[in-house]
């Protein structure tokens, strides 16, 4: 919404879907001034808004939970302490239900994912124009405040999870065990020659399954949050129509969608956590 330029629905939507990207422009390092410039920066660029909000929310998580951990005693918990402990217990229960190995890292991973993703999704409930407009007044042209609507963020987490899957698979089963899992099933034969013939087919099938895990994990969260954000933006366009009837209708829709979205953001955070735990559990299982 650069001042002086007439706002159309298309420009409004495009503006809302453009990240504040820092990278190399024609005039040296700097922020991209429009979506096209951001795209031209290629891989060597950073979405400052997504990453910034993401790290900020992660720090909120760390500080909040560190505060609770500091005050944690075996006495009677109160207020905030109760809430934090409830979350911890919930995550602990979920991990114990779906992960049967003995790895002290799984539960903290699950807690981090759940709370962090939940916080990132929660940004979706802030009215779409509120914070971006504040930044615009401050001279920052673009601001996407929901990190989980940026595929970089969701895929970044999913690829980190993928890295953990590979790490634990090799750690638990050994390189040969892991390769065996990739090549000796689902098709198996007693004769070594036939088995050798099956190997490439097995590898192809298993690789697809393996690679599908991080991409489905990241794209599911991204898709859900992107779609939700999109609907909020579309509802927000109704306010610009100038008709108070459409505006009032938009307000009702926004309220309804926001209430429904509370469910979605929690559910998506939960799904991301549970799937991560399940994938890591599979990595720990020896066939």
């Amino acid at each position: 919404m650069a001042s002086g330029v007439e706002i159309t629905s298309t420009s409004y939507i495009q503006h809302h879907l453009t990240n504040l990207t820092f990278g190399q422009t024609d005039h040296g390092w700097g922020f991209a001034h429009n979506a096209q410039e951001a795209a031209e920066m290629g891989f060597m660029a950073v979405n400052v808004d997504s990453l910034g909000w993401s790290i900020f929310l992660g720090l909120v998580f760390c500080i909040l939970f560190r505060f609770a951990a500091n005050r944690a005693t075996s006495g009677v918990p109160t207020g905030m302490q109760n809430f934090i402990e409830m979350m911890v217990e919930f995550v602990d229960g979920t991990v114990k239900d779906s992960f049967h190995g003995n790895n002290p890292w799984i539960a903290p991973i699950a807690l981090t994912i759940f709370v962090w993703v939940f916080f990132m999704n929660l940004m979706d409930l802030i009215p779409v124009d509120f914070i971006p407009h504040l930044f615009e007044v401050g001279g920052v042209p673009f601001q996407k405040i929901v990190p989980s609507t940026d595929p970089n963020i969701t895929l970044g987490m999913a690829l980190a999870v993928f890295g953990m899957i590979l790490y634990y698979s090799i750690k638990v089963k050994g390189v040969s065990g892991f390769l065996g899992e990739l090549t000796l099933q689902p098709f198996a034969a007693k004769s070594p020659i036939i088995q050798a013939m099956f190997m490439p087919i097995n590898l192809a099938l298993e690789l697809v399954g393996l690679l599908a895990k991080p991409f489905s994990l990241g794209l599911r969260l991204f898709g859900n949050m992107y779609a939700g954000e999109m609907i909020f933006i579309l509802i927000a366009i109704m306010y610009m129509s100038g008709s108070w009837i459409l505006g009032a209708f938009g307000g009702t829709l926004q309220l309804g969608w926001a209430i429904f979205h509370i469910l979605i953001i929690t559910l998506q955070a939960f799904i991301f956590m549970v799937l991560t735990v399940v994938y890591l559990g599979m990595a720990h299982e020896n066939h």
Partner: protein, 156 residues
């Protein structure tokens, strides 16, 4: 919507937050929660034990009460018996005393009667003698008559 370095930024911060969570959050909260669980379990156990103890104490108390009641009953019975005995003894004593006194009185009465009889007999003999003297109008030898008179008196 472009894939760029943000991906790696997110991965690195993700790993950092996991490390932070494990090191500074999870262990502390879980251990204090487990400690609290143990504390609560111990408290419940203690409460259980206390209520069991109370039950035992109550049983003891009621048993002792029963025992005391039994003893009291026995004591009362004994006391009643003893009281009866004392009363009986007193009655016996009173009866003996009364009998003794009655016997004394009777003996005295008898003695009195006998004495009166003796006196009466003497007097009657004297009277008879006087009578006979008058009848005979003669002075009979007293010595010879006294045997007669004694004989008469004995017959009276």
């Amino acid at each position: 919507m472009n894939i760029n370095l943000t991906l790696f930024g997110q991965m690195i911060s993700f790993l950092f937050f996991i490390w932070f969570c494990k090191k500074f959050v999870w262990t502390a909260i879980i251990s204090s929660m487990e400690e609290r669980q143990k504390k609560i379990a111990a408290g419940l156990d203690a409460a259980d034990k206390a209520s069991r103890d109370l039950e035992i104490a109550q049983e003891k108390v009621s048993a002792q009460l029963k025992e005391a009641k039994k003893e009291a009953t026995v004591l009362i019975e004994q006391a009643n018996k003893r009281a009866g005995q004392i009363v009986d003894e007193a009655k016996e004593q009173a009866k003996t005393e009364a009998d003794r006194m009655k016997a004394g009185a009777k003996a005295e009465i008898d003695m009195e009667v006998n004495r009166a009889k003796e006196e009466l007999r003497g007097k009657v003999a004297g009277l008879a003698l006087a009578g006979a003297e008058k009848i005979l109008k003669a002075n009979i030898d007293e010595k010879a008559n006294s045997a007669l008179v004694d004989d008469l008196a004995a017959q009276l």
